[in-house]
């Protein structure tokens, strides 16, 4: 155990404080401005909730929010099921080309979204899949799948194959073993993977942007359009809501899955 001199560790604490201010200050100011009367963010600050009221009349934003939620929920369900199945297969069976399959999970994460998004636009347009919410869902599931597989596989790595073998030797079928032994053991990993998938989809902008059409769009795409037209406190209000929403969601995830901590 090394002890840094008190002034050094004090300096360290002060520094972390500065980094946290850098990370949170703009968000706090944005939230504050969503409660400010002036539509041009003028000070002094005067409290109002009119922008939140205005929000409830903004049909375009509400429709886009519902689309975002619907796509995020569907992405979560599909990516969690497909991803968990794939993780189980990669955990249980050994076969030629397994490493290649595992390596193939990284392109969707590592390739800039600008490139994935434009590539999907070209392919979906050329094959007649077209643009719209279904195309956005296709894209989001693909982006979320690697996260689910990585998180669930990390959980499986702590699971002992002996438990499955014990179940088999006691006469359980493959399905019974999976349902009664394996899945309950890795449930926290599945839940965390599902919440990651939700967050990936709900916050996704770039890919949705290229696949959206005027009537079929998601919240981040609508917000981007509004920002480019001109800033409004309504955008602050809706942004504040989704920041609070996603941060609370990830706070819950952290209860299920320690980020990198013990994996």
């Amino acid at each position: 155990m090394i002890r840094a001199p008190a002034f050094l560790s004090g300096l360290g604490r002060f520094y972390i404080g500065l980094v946290l201010v850098f990370l949170y200050l703009p968000l706090v100011i944005m939230a504050a401005m969503s409660f400010n009367v002036s539509p041009f963010y003028q000070l002094p600050f005067e409290w109002t909730t009119e922008w939140y009221v205005a929000l409830s009349d903004n049909d375009g934003l509400i429709a886009a929010t519902l689309n975002s939620l619907e796509i995020a929920v569907m992405t979560t369900i599909i990516a969690t099921i497909l991803g968990t199945a794939a993780s189980l297969a990669l955990f249980r069976y050994d076969f030629a080309g397994k490493r290649v399959l595992q390596a193939l999970l990284f392109p969707p994460i590592a390739i800039p979204w600008l490139i994935s998004g434009t590539a999907m636009l070209i392919f979906f347009f050329g094959t007649g899949v077209g643009r719209g919410l279904h195309a956005i869902l296709l894209g989001h599931v693909a982006l979320a799948l690697p996260y689910v597989i990585i998180v669930v596989s990390a959980r499986l790595a702590t699971f002992s194959k002996d438990l499955e073998d014990a179940a088999y030797s006691l006469g359980a079928s493959a399905w019974q073993t999976t349902r009664k032994v394996t899945l309950p053991c890795i449930a926290p990993g599945i839940v965390a993977g599902g919440l990651f998938a939700f967050a990936v989809s709900f916050d996704q902008f770039v890919v949705s942007y290229f696949l959206a059409t005027p009537g079929q769009t998601t919240l981040p795409v609508e917000i981007y359009a509004a920002i480019r037209k001109g800033f409004t406190p309504e955008i602050n209000a809706v942004s504040t809501i989704i920041i609070v929403f996603s941060m609370s969601l990830m706070f819950v995830v952290s209860r299920f899955f320690r980020f990198g901590g013990d994996q």
């Binding site: 090394i2 360290g12 520094y15 972390i16 980094v19 850098f22 990370l23 968000l27 944005m30 963010y41 003028q42 599909i78 497909l82 199945a85 794939a86 189980l88 297969a89 990669l90 249980r92 050994d94 076969f95 030629a96 399959l101 193939l104 999970l105 392109p107 969707p108 590592a110 800039p112 979204w113 600008l114 490139i115 434009t118 590539a119 999907m120 636009l121 070209i122 392919f123 979906f124 347009f125 050329g126 296709l138 693909a142 799948l145 709900f202 916050d203 902008f205 770039v206 942007y209 290229f210 981040p220 480019r228 955008i235 942004s239 941060m247 969601l249 990830m250 706070f251 990198g260 901590g261």
Partner: protein, 286 residues
Amino acid sequence: MTGKRRDSGLVKAMPLLLPAYAWLTLAIFLPLSAMVYFSLLTSMSPSGQSATLTLGNYATFFSDPLYATLLVRSLELGLIVTLVCVLIGFPAAYVLAKIFKGRAREAIFLLVILPFWSNSLVRVFSWSMVLREGGILDTALNAILPFKVTFDLMYSYPAVIIGLVHSYLPYMVLTCYLSLQAIDDALIEAARSLGASRFTTLRRVIAPLALPGVLAGSALIFIPVVGSFMEPRILGGHGGTLYGTVIEDQFTAVYNWPLGAALSFILLAVVLVILLVSAPVLRKAA
């Protein structure tokens, strides 16, 4: 014998693997292949009818210096943002891994990582309220300083850098933290007791061991920053034209998809080459 078992493994694994990988093929791998094909078409119309194959789009990249200039500008931006993230993120990760303990460490770590999982578009947008004239920094500076200053970073290159560093800093703290945390304190103690100064210990013991984390974080930041277009659009204004925004234009404004596909593919190739060149260094570090 082993070969046979491995084959039967694949047969059993197939039904579980197929849905996930079929989806990835449909939504990632086929589109990327289609993009390569599209980049070789002459037609300006996205339907590709009566288009012929050509290398013209790639020729455009090499004949018009604008594209190369913008690509260099984007690569430069990627380097600057990555470097700033290392300079801010590494010390933060060090303090977190070696000074904070127990619950305080866990809580602060979570606080650093949380913004990363909130909407990046919104976080970039939030800077516009800080950086503009009449914004918070402008007002605060004028309140403190006895003379009038005009502080307006909005729609400038520094604004783009600030927004991107804010977006990607958590990556660097995360990866550096993971590798710093794995360093045994006894090693640091040994170096110190053998007479190494704090700086020498940092340079000769801690830095080499933490290098994989720094490099992993750098790759995770550099790649998306080079392809960024939303951040420069929101914070950069007219000065925010970058390689990514030109690609975006080809798809959403100019509708020259084949050229956009070629530009995207060149970006992907450049990023891959950079990764391949740095792969030996990465492997050596790991």
